[in-house]
């Protein structure tokens, strides 16, 4: 009889452990893709890097943006999809098109499915406000693709999914107080193989 009770208790603990830990991992992973502020394909949260972050945001940041700074120092926007909300896929070509952001420095970096940089022969992982080739109006197009391009080519991943991070260091007050409408670059899918 006692052994039966022991198995019952162990069963309850085991099921609770699976549900509790599994749901926690699922929530952290899901929140890393669905953050609070959405501007086109880009997502961010005003409390990234803040000591006021709740336990879910803190865990999410630890998962995808460990050691992120607060918004007076830097803004971080992540894009896991294109403008249509479709996941960024290596077999597709994308154009990232935009203009300058009101910040001291900004850059756009591509990441592999494991959140690390994408290996490529050129060691080209990002473009920034200084090394982008632009048109007469100062606007630019970055080509995220597996196929080399003549201008602003950002090599994409070979399999799985990928993502982008836009960093803006020392953002102007106009940007950090208006994170929802920051005139961020558009991510448009061109075609897929």
């Amino acid at each position: 009889m006692k052994r039966k009770h022991l198995f019952e208790v162990l069963g309850i603990v085991l099921v609770a452990l699976v549900i509790g830990v599994g749901s926690a991992v699922w929530v952290i992973e899901s929140l890393s893709k669905v953050q609070t502020i959405k501007d086109g394909a880009w997502t961010t949260h005003p409390l990234v890097g803040s000591v006021q972050a709740n336990m879910y945001l803190r865990a999410t940041i630890a998962r995808i943006a460990l050691f992120a700074l607060g918004r007076t120092e830097a803004l971080y926007y992540n894009a896991f999809t294109d403008e249509e909300g479709e996941p960024l896929r290596p077999e597709c070509d994308y154009i990232i098109e935009g203009g300058d952001l009101p910040a001291r420095w900004w850059s756009i970096t591509a990441y592999d499915k494991d959140h690390f940089l994408i290996p490529n022969a050129l060691n080209r992982y990002s473009y920034n406000m200084k090394n982008l080739r632009r048109d007469e109006q100062g606007r630019y197009k970055i080509y995220l693709s597996q196929t080399p391009k003549d201008l602003n080519w950002l090599p994409s991943a070979t399999e799985g999914t990928m993502s982008l991070t836009l960093r803006a260091y020392n953002p102007a007050p106009a940007l950090r107080e208006n994170m929802r409408n920051a005139s961020l670059p558009k991510i448009t899918k061109v075609d897929c193989r």
Partner: protein, 178 residues
């Protein structure tokens, strides 16, 4: 019937507890895992390690910026304060501290520094200390954490020069003689 209801409610209550504990422990677990990774690489606490520019092979921290040079010091101020000094280049530079739960509780950048080199005394929570010089005192909410210096690479041709400045920074325990 009542017995089954009790089992279901007990399972749910325990599941909620495990869920909350997992979410709360997750950032600390990441920090502990990072310190283990550092120990595997022969790195010690209270020493500043200067990282070369990140590449696709870099696996220390997720989503690193290839436009930055990072220097990292995993600190432990339980036995006494730590002195961090660093030269500041003419590009974006910042020194930030992260508590054991990953909270960014302090940051200073190149536009805010009052002296060059920067001199900071990092002290533990509720610990008495003597400031040996004119260092700015920063109190960490936890005994352990991470200090991180970022230097922006504005031009690939400046990497050598910026690396030289990066390597002038240090992080070391202060003998208090209390």
């Amino acid at each position: 019937m009542r017995k089954w209801l009790f089992r279901i409610l007990a399972t749910l209550a325990l599941a909620v507890a495990f869920h909350v504990l997992t979410v709360m422990a997750f950032p600390r677990a990441i920090m502990v895992a990072l310190s283990w990774k550092g120990k595997d690489l022969g790195q010690s606490s209270n020493v500043l390690y200067h990282q070369p520019r990140v590449t696709a092979e870099s696996r220390a921290v997720v989503r690193p910026s290839p436009d930055l040079l990072y220097s990292v010091c995993a600190y432990d101020v339980s036995k006494g304060p730590l002195r961090i000094s660093a030269s500041v280049p003419d590009t974006y530079w910042s020194l930030s501290f992260f508590a054991s739960n990953t909270d960014n509780f302090f940051v200073i950048n190149d536009l805010e520094v009052k002296t060059n080199p920067v001199d900071i005394l990092l002290v533990g929570p509720g610990v008495s200390y003597k400031n040996p010089g004119n260092a700015k005192v920063v109190t960490s909410p936890s005994k352990r954490g991470v200090a991180l210096i970022r230097i922006l690479i504005t031009d690939d041709n400046r990497i050598k020069e910026l690396t030289k400045i990066q390597r002038q920074a240090s992080c070391s325990p202060v003998d208090q003689g209390l």
